[in-house]
Each structure stands twice: as structure tokens, then as C-alpha cells.
């Protein structure tokens, strides 16, 4: 047996695979660590949202209906993405209202006409 085979290839690869697997498992520990560390910030933000009666997160603001997505006018023009790219870029990535508010039965129904 040659000296080169004294360290088997599989040993080296097992080491690499073990390191990568440890890295993947390590992401779970890192996730738990980050969640613990940011818990206080999340609690403060939760209280702030309650205190100011906030309804939306500030992620994209290139159009008012995108800034307050949950409060937006369901029949405003140019908000039925993905065709809205020319008007507001984030709008192109927001789903059509049908998928967003299927369960939203709260749009005012027109009052029944009295006879």
C-alpha cells in the first residue's frame, strides 16, 4: 500500500462533509442566538406598534397604497400588480387583490334599495 493511501480519501471528504453539516446545524443555533438577542427589540417594537396604533410595516413606500398595504383602497387604479410596474415598482411585486384579501368580506356592500 502506498503512503498516499495511508490517509484515505474518504477521511478527508468525511471531514469536509462533517464541517458543512456542522455549518448547516450551526445556523439553527445562530438563529436561536439572534432571536434571543433581538427579543428585547421585538418587544419594544411590538409595544410601539400598539402604542401608536400602527397597522403596517414600512418596507416600501413608492406609492401610498404600498406604504399602508393593509389599509389601501381596494379599488384604486394601477394597483393590480404585476402589470403596475410602470407606475410603482414595488407594486409589480404585490399580488393582485384577489389573492391578498380573499377573506376580506369587509368592503362595504351597497345598501339594498328600498321598495
Amino acid at each position: 500500500m502506498s503512503a498516499g493511501l495511508a490517509v484515505r480519501r474518504s477521511n478527508r471528504v468525511v471531514l469536509v462533509v462533517a464541517l458543512l453539516a456542522a455549518g448547516v446545524v450551526g445556523t439553527w443555533f445562530d438563529e436561536a442566538r439572534l432571536q434571543r438577542r433581538r427579543q428585547a427589540v421585538h418587544d419594544r417594537n411590538l409595544r410601539l406598534a400598539g402604542d401608536l396604533r400602527l397597522t403596517d410595516v414600512c418596507l416600501f413606500g413608492d406609492a401610498p397604497w404600498l406604504r399602508h398595504l393593509s389599509q389601501s383602497d381596494v379599488f384604486a387604479s394601477m394597483q393590480d400588480g404585476p402589470g403596475a410596474f410602470d407606475y410603482s415598482r414595488s407594486g409589480s411585486l404585490v399580488g393582485p387583490r384577489g389573492t391578498v384579501t380573499d377573506s376580506d368580506a369587509s368592503v362595504a356592500e351597497p345598501p339594498a334599495l328600498s321598495r
Binding site: 445556523t27 419594544r44 400602527l54 414600512c58
Partner: protein, 381 residues
């Protein structure tokens, strides 16, 4: 057990030697494979983190928001509505909210101007303001500085900045300006006795929807938005975005699948000869297939692990990567948000299975065909 392990290690040794003989091809495959896994994993991790972040911080939003519609457009809500809403059973408290969009002609962007509700820790005195971190950054404001806003009557409203809202709250307050009710009404010429909308608090979460239904029944010109709808809106939005980004990426995925399948299912002349030699020295078809299964599993598992790790580091440790724009959208006053990972084990497991199993399986069919043939026939070609 020990014997079985030794056998598997020997098979892995032969598989690795085989891969080593085609080092350049194997490395190219590994890099492309890991890159494809990392893009899919990054989109998945990012969307999940943003979805959870939105759901988490909005868990204390008002139970029901009541808006008024007139001729199909939003209209201000008179305070008489508040009285009627108070009479609905289950409603604990009723608060009029004052908020709107102020178009800043310098920044060329609409920011959110809001009045903190009475009793809030963030109530602002007349002539003063509290400013969100992204607005403060964009306008170069600091505590004690002057914020100038142009009223609808084209007058200048001078406000002293009391304090900047903390950076850590950017996900909620990046573009927010908090001012007093009097300043709000002066800024927008907002009539007294009217609110932008009304927030209801309802003690029993199970009654939120019932209360909303009562509101729209009693006041047909209103629209009621329940807290659950808010959460669902964000969940649906980011699921949609995640899907859309992956759809945009589908061409690359298909090209890679074709490449990997072609690479895995078609044996080169060298590989066929190698199998024939192994058969000639006494290996049976089962051994050959186990060795090739090792080859496929090693390549795909290493690609998965490397790709997933790269995606994790990229999403949670590299600020503002390219997916930031694609998934989060665009805005002039951009919040600096540090995402907290919140992975879904099922999603990761699905990605692992989809990364490893098809490639390993695709390898086995041609190997089986070559392994069951007579070695001399295979060697002669």
C-alpha cells in the same frame, strides 16, 4: 455493523477516486449546483424572515380599523361615528386616528405624518415633532433641529424635533413623522370633528370579525379591516413575492436541471469503461450502483450544504443584498432592517430532498444499464 461501515467507506473511496479523475467537471458541477441551491435558499430564507417580522410586530395592531367610503373613495370619518361604534357590543374602546401622507418636495417622496393617540408615550406638544430614522437621515435632522413642512395653504410649519425614533424601530417608523393634533389639522387643513379612520379595541379576539360585520351592517358606508386581515395581507404579499422571484428564476432552474440530468444520466466512455473494469475484477451490479449512489449523494449533499450556508450568511449577515430590492421593494426613505432568521424546518427539508434525491436518482439508471451488461461487451464499446 463495522463491516458494513468499512464497505461503505471503501465504496466512498472508489467514488471519490472516480470523481477525482474528472476533477474539473466535478468542481464546475459543484459550484453551479451550490449557486443554484443558494439562490433558491436565499429567496426562501428572506421571504420567511420578512413574513415573520411583519406578523410579529403587527400582533398589537388595532383589532378593527373602520374607514369611511364616499362615492367609492376614502372619506374622513365624523366623530359622530365614534359614538355609534361605542354602542356595538364587544367594543372596548374607540379612538379616532389622524394620519396622512405628506409629499416632501425636496426628497420627492410621500412620508407618513401621524398623531400619536391620547395616552400614548409618544404624544407630541404643539410645535414639536418626532421623526423616524430614515426621514431623519434623508433630511439630515437631529434632536433639537428644525423640521419645516409646507401646509396645504402653502405656509411653512416650523417644528422642533424632540427626538428621533430609534433605528431599531425602522421596520415600523422609518418614514414616520409624529406631530400634535393641532399641527396635523393646520398642515393638512383637516377639519375639526373628523378623523382619518377609527381604531376599535375588542377584548375577545374571537369577536373581531363579528364586530367588523356589525360595523359594516350598521354603517353601510364603512369598511372594516380586522387585525387578522392585516397579518394575512403581509403573509400573502411575501408568499407572492417569493413565488414571483422564483418564477423569474425558473429559466435558470430549468437549465441547471437539464445540465445536471444530462451530466448524471449520460455516462461518458471513461465512466462506462470504469464500470466494466470494476465488473471484470469481481464487483457485482449492486456494488457498482452503491458506489455511484455515493458519488451522486456526495456531490449533491455538499452542494446543498455549501449553497444553504452561503444563502444564510448572505441574507442575515450581508446588508442589502440583491434580493432586498426584489423582495422588499423600493422607496426613497429606505428603512435599514436587520432581519432575524426564522427558518421553517419543513421548507429546509424540502429543499434538501429536492437538491439531493433527484440528482442521485438520475445517476443510477444509466449506471444500472452499464452494470448489468457483460464487461467485455462494454469494454469493446
Amino acid at each position: 455493523m463495522r463491516r458494513w461501515l468499512n464497505r461503505q467507506r471503501s465504496l466512498a473511496d472508489v467514488a471519490l477516486a472516480s470523481l477525482g479523475r474528472r476533477r474539473t467537471r466535478t468542481m464546475a458541477l459543484l459550484v453551479v449546483y451550490a449557486l443554484v441551491v443558494s439562490v433558491v435558499a436565499a429567496v426562501m430564507l428572506y421571504a420567511q424572515a420578512v413574513r415573520r417580522e411583519a406578523g410579529r410586530v403587527l400582533a398589537q395592531s388595532p383589532a378593527v380599523i373602520v374607514q369611511r367610503l364616499q362615492a367609492g373613495r376614502f372619506a374622513l370619518v365624523p366623530d359622530t361615528y365614534a359614538e355609534a361604534l361605542r354602542a356595538i357590543r364587544g367594543v372596548q374602546s374607540v379612538e379616532g386616528r389622524l394620519w396622512g401622507y405628506y409629499y416632501d418636495p425636496v426628497l420627492k417622496v410621500a412620508v407618513t405624518v401621524m398623531v400619536a393617540p391620547e395616552g400614548s408615550a409618544h404624544v407630541v406638544q404643539d410645535g414639536h415633532a418626532r421623526v423616524g430614522p430614515a426621514v431623519a437621515r434623508a433630511k439630515g435632522l437631529s434632536a433639537g433641529g428644525q423640521l419645516l413642512l409646507i401646509t396645504t395653504a402653502r405656509d411653512v410649519l416650523r417644528l422642533t424635533v424632540d427626538e428621533l425614533l430609534p433605528d431599531e424601530s425602522a421596520v415600523l417608523t422609518a418614514d414616520l413623522i409624529l406631530i400634535s393634533a393641532a399641527d396635523f389639522r393646520a398642515l393638512f387643513d383637516h377639519p375639526a370633528g373628523f378623523y382619518t379612520d377609527i381604531a376599535l379595541s375588542v377584548a375577545n379576539p374571537a369577536e373581531h370579525r363579528r364586530v367588523a360585520e356589525k360595523v359594516t351592517t350598521r354603517m353601510p358606508d364603512t369598511r372594516a379591516i380586522v387585525r387578522d386581515d392585516i397579518a394575512r395581507t403581509y403573509a400573502a404579499t411575501f408568499s407572492w413575492r417569493e413565488g414571483l422571484v422564483l418564477v423569474a428564476f425558473i429559466g435558470v432552474l430549468a437549465a441547471f436541471a437539464l445540465f445536471a440530468f444530462d451530466r448524471a444520466s449520460g455516462l461518458s466512455a471513461d465512466e462506462t469503461r470504469e464500470i466494466a473494469v470494476l465488473k471484470a475484477v469481481g464487483w457485482d451490479a449492486g456494488d457498482v450502483m452503491a458506489m455511484k449512489a455515493w458519488e451522486g449523494a456526495l456531490v449533491s449533499a455538499v452542494a446543498f450544504a455549501a449553497g444553504y450556508l452561503a444563502a444564510y450568511l448572505f441574507v442575515f449577515y450581508v446588508p442589502a443584498g440583491p434580493f432586498d430590492g426584489a423582495l422588499r421593494g423600493w422607496t426613497v426613505v429606505r428603512p435599514r432592517i436587520r432581519l432575524t432568521p426564522d427558518t421553517d424546518a419543513f421548507q429546509v427539508a424540502t429543499l434538501f430532498v429536492l437538491s439531493v434525491v433527484p440528482y442521485t436518482a438520475a445517476i443510477l439508471v444509466p449506471v444500472w444499464r452499464a452494470a448489468v451488461a457483460e464487461p467485455d461487451v462494454v469494454m469493446r464499446g
